[in-house]
């Protein structure tokens, strides 16, 4: 039993936490009677449980269904009930939603309202991106966007602006990498929880009882992005949202891929370290990083080591990580001008890749002097296409050479049939991505997202 403190809709609260994996959503609905925050899917895909969370890094939206109570210690949480002004007045966004007929069944509506209210605070108007994690089945989204555009550019009301709480140290949460390393070495069977966007599902869907847990959000030194001689050193605790912002300049193709990484709510919680450490064959960060030649830093106690990222993924569900060792950082080059990242999924936004192909070729004149190519979704792990690379390196960058290299994909990969795509399609599309890479670098229009009517 531990106590946490935070600010809820402007008022400080303290809560005795009996289970560190009780979700904020359950607590809001069952213990506080704040039923405006809805459970739509309980796995972070629908956004009906979206709440606003403010801490030292600013205001963001998160899925309350994948947020464990200890994670909100010291932060400010605002739910839809907290959007109403002190005199009972509606938030201008709520008025706009009514005026534009933006609710039908109303169940998703509080989540949309929260996403848009946070966007207003942050001065953001990239509505398609920031609403990708809010599903609506009734309206077709058009009236919601009309409402969003009606308030775009207006200032947020003062009453929705929160500041983080001073509540002392968080329970279950080491405050530095050193502290974490020491604790984890002596508790090697514990589960480390960074954003909880994956581990959350172990609890909400698999109904697992977790052993000891440690939350990583208080390790501020794991959340740094530093310039180093090799390029950048990204702390494992850097969120996908922060990484996306940092990569927009040096690695626009990578940042573009991260735009399609899950949703606003998930990117604000999920970390780079978590995305790598869970070893998923379809995590989107790994193929891009492997194509860039990134290296992975691991730490156990005081022992640190750095390996090529692709070497971390041994086999499906198995990584090169010792008990008590954790993913600590990623080093990647300062530039990779030849990088292109192609994510293929049934839906553009907030979907899991059927195939994620990342290509990084260096040309001298017309000759391919180096090719680093990695795929997600094509094997049990994110994996380099070494046979394809070999078929390309030292040869001219032409259609003939590219097409001649395509069959090597079948040497590198034996993909599977599943609900996302057939093996045959995966292989064919992966080969076509190589062609796309060539066409794109030689100036053809290849992206449906860039076509306007």
């Amino acid at each position: 039993m531990a106590e946490i403190g935070f600010i809820l809709n402007g008022s400080p609260v303290r809560v005795s936490v009996t289970s560190p994996t009780q979700t904020l959503l359950d607590w809001l609905r069952t213990e506080r009677g704040l039923t405006g925050t809805k459970e739509g899917c309980n796995e972070g895909d629908c956004g009906a449980c979206t709440v606003m969370v403010t801490d030292a890094d600013g205001t963001r939206v998160l899925n309350a269904c994948l947020l464990f109570l200890p994670q909100i210690h010291g932060r400010a949480v605002r739910t839809v009930e907290g959007l109403t002004g002190p005199a009972g007045e509606m938030h201008p966004l709520q008025q706009a939603m009514i005026a534009h007929h933006a609710s039908q069944c109303g169940f998703c509506t509080p989540g949309f309202v929260m996403s848009l209210a946070a966007a207003q605070i942050n001065g953001r108007t990239d509505h398609d991106d920031l609403l990708a994690g809010n599903l609506c089945r009734c309206t077709g989204y058009a009236p919601i966007i009309r409402a969003a555009e009606a308030v775009a550019g207006t200032p947020a009301p003062d009453w929705v602006k929160d500041a983080p709480a001073e509540c002392g140290p968080a329970p279950f949460a080491p405050t530095s990498a050193d502290e974490l390393a020491a604790w984890y070495e002596s508790h090697p069977d514990a589960v480390l929880i960074a954003g909880a966007t994956d581990v959350g599902l172990w609890v909400t869907k698999h109904l697992r009882d977790l052993p000891e847990v440690a939350f990583l959000h208080a390790c501020r030194d794991l959340q740094r992005i530093e310039a180093v001689p090799e390029g950048f050193r990204i702390g494992a605790g850097v969120t996908i949202a922060a990484l996306r912002a940092a990569m927009a300049g040096p690695h626009p193709a990578f940042a573009g891929l991260l735009r399609r990484f899950a949703s606003e709510q998930v990117r604000a919680a999920a970390t780079l370290g978590g995305n790598i450490a869970n070893g998923s064959p379809i995590g989107d960060a790994a193929p891009a990083l492997i194509a860039m030649g990134a290296r992975l830093g691991l730490r156990k106690g005081d022992v640190r080591r750095e390996i090529a990222l692709e070497d971390f993924f041994l086999d499906y569900g198995r990584q090169d990580r010792a008990k008590g060792e954790f993913v600590a950082w990623v080093t990647l080059p300062a530039e990779a001008p030849g990088l292109a990242c192609y994510k293929l999924s049934k839906r553009f936004d907030q979907d899991i890749s059927a195939v994620c192909g990342c290509f990084n070729m260096t040309l001298e004149g017309s000759i391919i002097t180096s090719a680093r190519i990695a795929f997600g979704g094509m094997a049990g792990v994110p994996k380099r296409a070494r046979a394809v690379e070999a078929a390309l390196e030292g040869r001219p960058f032409t259609r003939e050479v590219i097409e001649a290299a395509v069959p090597a994909l079948a040497v590198d990969f034996t993909p599977i049939d599943d609900m996302r795509a057939s093996a045959r399609y995966r292989l064919e599309a992966a080969g076509n991505m190589l062609v796309r890479y060539l066409l794109e670098r030689t100036g053809a229009k290849v992206d449906v997202l860039e076509v306007t009517p």
Partner: protein, 811 residues
């Protein structure tokens, strides 16, 4: 007048503030039980033994029941009594409820439900159309066949024969609010709160399950967080389970499905295979056509028969098919029992004929729109038929509508039928219903103009010629959708209206609110009847204790039926008030007017509140029921003959898309829609239905894909794997307009139903994608639905004549 105003949803303020309450939001007594089902893990099997000791021992468990513990009927079927609440000796799909857990918390119930140890003797599972046909596993014995004319002879004599087959995927409803129910023990019975489109059926099934008459069960339904047909019958199991536990333990009982459970347990839209063979002339006119429709209905009958009927009833869509044969196979498979979903089979039937139009145009090298036009039903020769003439104002409006700029090619009228007395009569559908209200010639002509269809199609062809990788496509497809329940007796509704002595009005009707704005529209009808502002009218939860024996809110019928029933009740009260006030003022009731919140009685005038108070003092009853039954219907479903529909709702959409020929990725770029809501009761709400229906229909035919594995497990059982359209999937340019015309039938204020028809506007997306695929090569792309990137890439390859051909050409 309140009717026709674009007023917001009556709960809009509650929605945006989070104050709108759904079943899961109701405050619970502390002793509430929480329920969960233990589910079958095999698709077909005999239950050999059940070891539920670990379930019983699980923390917080109060009771664990199997079928043997049920005191009365073990049946939650809406139709054929073939759907037990809990499996008896056999299981029929992966996800079938086998046992029921009651526990102290939702989480405790879910945890316990996973601890059952059930031994099965597995039996062969029938999962596909082919397997079902091979095993002759079907409902209704054999196929249902309707025919008109002589399709075989007409096809044989035709200059061209086009044949093909289209596989059409199903669709998960993905209502944002999952299934939920709560039962509260009451004196002599039970009160049930259920997220249901059909409270009367819940009442009926609960009463049977707890062995009491229907008068012991009251069902209350304030709102659903979306229904789309998925809460027409699929909520029965939860409500019955809750009522059973409430009865057994005298404690409130609540059940809500976790999203994954919801998707695994409940039925979805039927997937179909449609085979077609059409004989056509050189202009693409269909001379004869034969359809074979195969539907995977799942393990129990549920609503599959009327769904498959409606697929047959929409095999013509907007086209006059003189010689036609439709064969419908309702296949029983070991999967979730497919159920109602917006359109109720109509979309599948309609997609079949729209595919034929595209195929004919491709095969003959004709403009697909011209082929569609040349097959349209003839416009009614006499647009001012008896129905419209009865309402002079509406009739005038209808004339305005049809006199709008006409088509580039004049509508084809030559084939209009000649009646016995020599006057030209309307053409008839394959099921012999006269099409008296056809407006699609004018409607599509107008849409072609407003969407700049022809110029854009040319520009797209030019663009495609210059693009090596990306191809665009554009298509216009029409919708003609039949309005009425095809089970004729369901076309009835009741209402209960009270006028209080302060002039405020309260009403109930049999319809349920699932987001479609029904209560708002009905309140507008009531406000119009009394000449008051709509805010003077309150509508509370749908309640079987207020209005009995209601039909499901389904078949787009909500406003048509309940609006009329409410109007009847209001008219009764208003007539009583007018009579009394007239007598008080020595005038006649005909001289009493209710307008703008005032009542004018001869020369006198008073507020509506004062009028109500005077009537109360005059001992006039200010409460009335109202009732409505749709006229003109007569339908023999066995023969496939009659008038199943009161009228048709029309619409058309132009969609423009782009595809990536390397990956099959695709995008809707623009949509232009012109839709017929008759004289709209509320244009804002109707446009909302159209926008939402279009995107939902587009989702069905593009990214929404249900995948079962070889053991019958649904692999797409969560939003992580089943993708409904997200915000960025809506068309960037999205123009929606309402056709300006009145319903020629005497519906409520001459409006038309709008719930389902717009879903089928999404077919234009599929047709546009097929057009984009066709731009890749000379062959027919034969696109399957849903048009996922994988399906589009396969179609691109087919258009090019297969990968090998392409490589040969490049070499």
């Amino acid at each position: 007048m309140s009717v026709a105003l674009p007023l917001p949803h009556d709960s809009a303020r509650l929605h945006v503030t989070g104050a709108a309450r759904y079943v899961d939001d109701l405050a619970l007594p502390a002793n509430t039980l929480h329920l969960a089902f233990g589910l079958s893990t095999v698709a077909h099997g005999e239950i050999l033994s059940m070891d539920l000791s670990a379930v019983r021992a699980s923390k917080g468990v109060v009771a664990v029941w199997t079928a043997r513990d049920l005191p009365f009927a073990n049946d939650v079927s809406p139709s054929a009594h073939d759907e037990p609440l809990l499996a008896t000796d056999r299981v029929h799909y992966v996800g079938q409820p086998v046992f029921l857990v009651a526990a102290e918390s939702h989480l405790a119930a879910r945890r316990a439900a996973r601890k059952g140890r059930i031994a099965y003797r597995e039996l062969p599972a029938i999962l596909t159309v082919d397997a079902a046909l091979a095993a002759d596993s079907r409902f209704e014995g054999g196929p249902v066949i309707w025919s008109r004319g002589d399709a075989e002879a007409a096809i044989a004599a035709a200059p061209h024969v086009i044949e093909g087959r289209l596989d059409i995927g199903g669709q998960e409803h993905f209502y944002l609010e999952g299934q939920a129910a709560l039962a509260l023990p009451a004196e002599g019975g039970v009160v049930v709160h259920a997220s249901s489109q059909h409270p009367t059926e819940i009442q009926h099934k609960v009463a049977e399950a707890i062995g009491l008459p229907m008068n012991a069960v009251r069902v209350e339904m304030r709102r659903m967080g979306g229904g789309f047909g998925g809460k027409e019958s699929q909520g029965n199991a939860l409500a019955v389970a809750c009522a059973l536990m409430a009865r057994a333990f005298g404690r409130p009982a609540k059940m809500r499905y976790d999203r994954d459970d919801d998707m695994v347990i409940t039925g979805k839209r039927h997937d179909f295979r449609i085979e077609y063979r059409a004989g056509v002339d050189t202009e693409g006119r269909i001379l004869g056509i034969a359809f074979r429709q195969f539907a995977r209905c799942g393990w129990s009958q549920d609503l599959s028969l009327p769904v498959c009927d409606r697929a047959m009833l929409h095999a013509d869509n907007a086209y006059h098919l003189a010689h036609i044969r439709i064969e419908s196979h309702r296949l029983r498979t070991n999967t979730q029992s497919a159920t109602a979903f917006r359109g109720f089979g109509g979309p599948q039937g309609m997609l079949g004929i729209e595919r034929v139009m595209d195929h004919v145009a491709h095969a003959l090298g004709l403009d697909p729109l011209a082929v569609r036009r040349s097959n349209f039903y003839a416009e009614r020769p006499d647009p001012c038929g008896a129905g419209v003439a009865a309402d002079a104002a509406a009739g005038a409006a209808a004339e305005t509508a049809v006199s709008r700029p006409r088509t580039m090619d004049p509508p084809r009228r030559a084939t209009a039928r000649v009646t016995e007395n020599g006057a030209p009569g309307p053409q008839t559908t394959p099921y012999h219903q006269p099409v008296e209200d056809f407006i699609l010639h004018a409607l599509t002509a107008r849409l072609e103009q407003t969407s700049d269809f022809h110029a854009r199609r040319e520009a797209i062809a030019d663009w495609n010629a210059r693009q090596p990788v990306l191809k665009r496509g554009i298509a216009l497809t029409p919708v003609k959708f039949g309005i009425s329940f095809t089970l004729t007796h369901l076309n009835q509704a009741g209402a209960l209206v009270h006028v209080y002595q302060d002039g405020s009005i309260h009403l109930n009707h049999g319809g349920t609110e699932m987001g479609q704005g029904l209560h708002r529209k009905v309140a507008q009808v009531a406000a119009a009847a009394f000449g008051v502002e709509v805010d003077a009218v309150a509508i509370s939860a749908t309640d079987t204790g207020k209005v009995p024996n209601t039909s499901a809110t389904a078949a787009s019928s909500g406003s048509d039926l309940n609006g009329m029933a409410v109007k009847a009740a209001c008219d009764t009260i208003r007539a009583r008030m007018a009579e009394h006030l007239a007598a008080e003022h020595q005038t006649v009731a005909a001289d009493v007017r209710f307008e703008a919140g005032r009542v004018f009685v001869g020369g006198a005038e008073m507020s509506f509140a004062e009028a109500a108070a005077r009537c109360h003092q005059g001992r006039v009853s200010l409460s009335s029921t109202g009732f409505y039954a749709t006229p003109k219907l007569s339908w023999d479903r066995k023969a496939g003959r009659g008038r199943p529909f009161y009228y048709f709702a029309y619409g058309a959409a132009v969609s423009e898309v782009v595809i990536d020929t390397l990956t099959g990725e695709n995008r809707i770029l623009r949509a232009d829609i012109l839709h017929d809501c008759g004289r709209s009761l509320n244009p804002a709400i109707d446009i909302g239905q159209i926008e939402g229906g279009y995107v939902q229909g587009a989702g069905w035919l593009t990214m929404e894909e249900l995948v079962w594995d070889r053991t019958g497990r649904l692999r797409t059982h969560a939003p992580s794997t089943y993708k409904i359209p997200a915000c960025s999937d809506r068309p960037r340019i999205f123009n929606v307009a309402l056709w300006d015309g009145a319903n020629r039938e005497e519906t409520i204020y001459r409006s038309k139903a709008v719930g389902e028809p717009p879903l089928m506007l999404g077919i234009s997306v599929f047709s546009a994608l097929a057009a984009a695929c066709a731009a890749c090569g000379p062959h027919f792309p034969d696109l399957r639905a849903p048009a996922t990137p994988e399906a589009v890439l396969a179609a691109v390859n087919r258009a090019r004549g297969g990968k090998r051909d392409r490589e040969r050409r490049q070499a």
